[in-house]
Every structure is written in C-alpha cells, then in structure tokens.
Subunit: 239 residues, 2 copies
DNA sequence: AAAATTGTTAACAAAACCATAACACCAACC
DNA sequence: GGTTGGTGTTATGGTTTTGTTAACAATTTT
C-alpha cells in the first residue's frame, strides 16, 4: 500500500516542489502551510511520515513536532534554515527523527524520506502480524507453491529449484498475484498495484504479461492451472 | 593537557555541531565523515575518545570500531539511529564503550563523553609507565567465496590467494555487495550506503564501478557470475 | 611541479523491455 | 447457429535500461 506523507511548509513553491516529487514516488501526499492545520491533518490522516518546516506562521515546527510526539509515533523529518537549531531538533526537546538544512537537494531529501519509511515498513510488518491472526505472510521470505518458488530477496523465481529468467514487470506481477493467492483480482486492481496509479494505458497489457508468465511457469500455458482466468473479472493465482 | 576527541560523522551539519560543542568544552577536536579516514586519523592522532556514527559511507561504524578495538584502547562512543543495533554495539562483536540513539540531546552526549574521558584519566595514570610493546594483531574477518576472499581487516581482496589491487571505492562496494550476498540491491540503496546520503550524482556511477570490479574478480567480465545484474533493480552478489 | 592514481561524468552502443495493435479464439447468450 | 463481448496470442517498433569506453577533474604521490 502506498505511503502517506504529510508536507508542512509555508513556502508555496517549495511545498509544491516537495509534493510533486513525493507524488512522483507514488506516495500519497497531504499538504499544508499552517502549523495548526498540520496537527489536525496529522490526527485525521495518520500519515506514515511528516516533513515539517521549522519556520511556520502561528504554531512553529518545534511545537508541532513536540505535540505530535506525545500522541503518535510516525517519523518526522524537519527542515530548517539554521544550523544552530539542530541541537534542538534531534534532541529530546523536540525529537525529530531526521533533519535537513536548507538549501538541500531534492535527491537527498527523497533518500532520507525513503530511509525513514523503510523503518516504518519494518515496524509495520511486526505489528500487523501481531494484530491479525491470519497466516502471517512474511513479505521478505520466499513464497513457495509446490515446485514454484518466488524469492523476494534475490528477486528470482525458481521452478524445481532452477532459476527462471523473469523480466522486471513479470516478476512484479507474479509476486503480486502470488501474494494474493486465491483471490480473483481485477485487471484494474492489478494495473493500479503493479503498474502504479499513474499508469494510463490499456488493460489488455495485463493479459499479455499473464501470457508471458504462463509461458514460464505453466507446464501447458494454454491450460493454465496456476494463473487462472476469472471471466469478467481478471485473474486469480492458485498455488 | 586537553583531551583530544575524534568525531566521525558523515552528516556535515551534525559533525559541525558536535565539533562545536566539544570545542566549547576545551577539547581538541579532529573530525571526518569517512570511515577509512577515521582509521587513519585514529592511528595518527591517537585521540582520547572517539565519537563514532554507525551509518557511514564506505566502512561503517561497526567496522571502524571493530578494527580499532584490535589495535588500540581508547573509548568509543557510538551514535546510532536504530535501537535494534544496540546489542551489537555494546556486545563483543563491536565492543563500543557507550552508545546513544538518535535523536539525542547534546547535553546528554557531552555528559557521556565526559564520563568516558574520566575513565581515560584513571587508566592513563595507572599505565603510562607500563606500556605494551605488543604490536596490534590484526585479526581477520574474512568473507570467503570459493577462490575469492574479502579481507576486512587487511582491507584486501584475494583471488586464489593472490592479492588484487582495489581502489578504495571498489573495495567498499565489493564489501557492501558481499555482505548482502544473495539479495538484489537497488542502485539507490547502493549509492546511499556506499557513497553516502549526501552524494548527489548519477546512479550510473554504480555501473561503472561494478564494471571495474567485474574486471578484477570475474574470469569473464562480460559474463558475470559473481556480481549479477538484476534488471530493473540493480545488482546482486552471488558467492 | 610533474606524474600517477582515482572518482565521476558524458556519450554512444547494445540489449532488454514493454505497450499496443491486430487478429484469432472461445464461451455465453439469444 | 450466429452474434457478441471478453480473452488469447503474436509481432513489432519505440522506449528504457544497462554496458562500455574514454575523457575529465580531483586527489595523492613522487
């Protein structure tokens, strides 16, 4: 699922640049230039990460961070123009998780945001596994279906322990299908999750890729038993 | 005589903040953002205390600490962003004297630094006369993959027991890949971990370095089997 | 100061990838 | 049995990604 990022920055141009770049990474973006609104939004939207400027009209970034810290635990990345403020930012007093001093490169900001979100991912897996008593599906391990193994870490698919060459999209698609094994998935959903929401194209694309997948993992591609067609809907992966 | 403190932190701003605060306490400060330079400086300057960040480009803090521990005995205070690393830090594996998790307050850091230096003062008095003239015995943590050995301690790569000349970045890169053997690593991740966060350049840089590595460790560089390309992602080291 | 070494970038070549179109097929409904 | 709409299949050309080399800049060594 896409991460949600709250951008709190009163400089309109910077705010938009940030939002644009984050959106390009397929993050959901919520933005505001006001400290008080930031609090409201944070409570309502429960973002996975907050990018927070220090200099804000009204309630400043320090305050916002401090207050949020008492209520929630999402990581906060602070932006500041003054190096002297850093003590305060990463210190106990405010307690941000990371910071950047202006001017900063967008690349670095993205890298750091990504790093913070990686941390979220780890804890998220732990906690969701604890909550649901569903069969815990470790996202990192190897999905195995009989003689078929989908190895996340190596980004490799093996059939009878023999690695099979997969194109990137093929791997992503197979992984997505396999992760939702036994559920009929619509082409639209598949497109959205594997190709990304910004993809604007023909849903027949899925068919073609499914065909290629079948070629590689089905003994008889024309009589598919693993990736089954669900007429009127899309496809379903059966172990 | 004033104490000498070595600050190893790649985040320039934090590095400066640390240096500034230490200098205010009348300590002599030597600083670097690079793990390897840290080793050199430590050997040359023989500081009384080292403040060492874990996340460093190239040689990370764990390594630096581990290597130094075999040669010298000054206290090491480690900085980390992740609570999970603590066991490792204070455990035998790394053996730091103290640690702080980011974010921390400058006040607390200063307090701990002072405490560690107090300990130095005591031992210094006791042992100034009876110095050990035993040369440091570099113990080898060697990653071995068939005929390929990556010697952490000596910072040397051997193919069929014959040392191979490696540029620093090449070694760092190879080491990083080898440490995460069997996992597909994205160019972004590689850049972040080997070149550092603030690196702002082209990800093709990785390609070029990989090429050079392959030239040195692959029998047939164009048909790489050790450093495998994972299309759409990056590279993977297979033993 | 010259020379060697090293890291980075640019530019081009080569390979892989993928969306789409066009047509064939099939299954359900009338 | 024919029609219709959904799905299967294949080929293709444009795009993206990666490989490779060389040149340049920066650094270190001599």
């Amino acid at each position: 699922m896409a991460y949600k990022v709250l951008v709190v920055e009163d400089d309109v141009t910077l705010q938009e640049t940030l939002a644009y770049n984050l959106a390009r990474q397929e993050y959901d973006v919520v933005k505001t230039g006001n400290g008080r609104t930031a609090l409201t939004l944070a409570r309502k939207e429960k973002p996975d990460l907050i990018i927070l400027d220090v200099m804000l009209p009204g309630l400043d970034g320090f305050e916002v961070c401090r207050i949020l810290r008492q209520e929630m635990s999402m990581p906060v990345l602070m932006l500041t123009a003054r190096a002297e403020e850093i003590d305060k930012i990463v210190g106990l007093e405010v307690g941000a998780d990371d910071y950047l001093t202006k001017p900063f490169s967008m690349r670095e900001l993205m890298a750091r945001a990504k790093a913070l979100l990686r941390r979220v991912e780890l804890t998220r897996e732990e906690t969701t596994a604890a909550q649901t008593d569903q069969p815990p599906k470790p996202q990192t391990a190897v999905l195995t279906f009989g003689n078929l193994a989908i190895d996340d870490g190596r980004r490799e698919v093996r059939l009878n322990d023999k690695p099979i060459r997969m194109k990137p999209k093929e791997f992503d698609l197979l992984q997505f299908l396999a992760r939702h094994q036994g559920i009929a998935l619509s082409r639209d959903l598949i497109l959205e999750r594997v190709w990304g929401w910004s993809y604007d194209g023909n849903s027949r694309t899925v068919d073609v890729h499914v065909r290629w997948l079948r070629e590689k993992i089905e003994p008889e591609p024309s009589k598919a038993t693993r990736i089954v067609t669900v007429r009127g809907v899309g496809y379903r992966f059966d172990g």
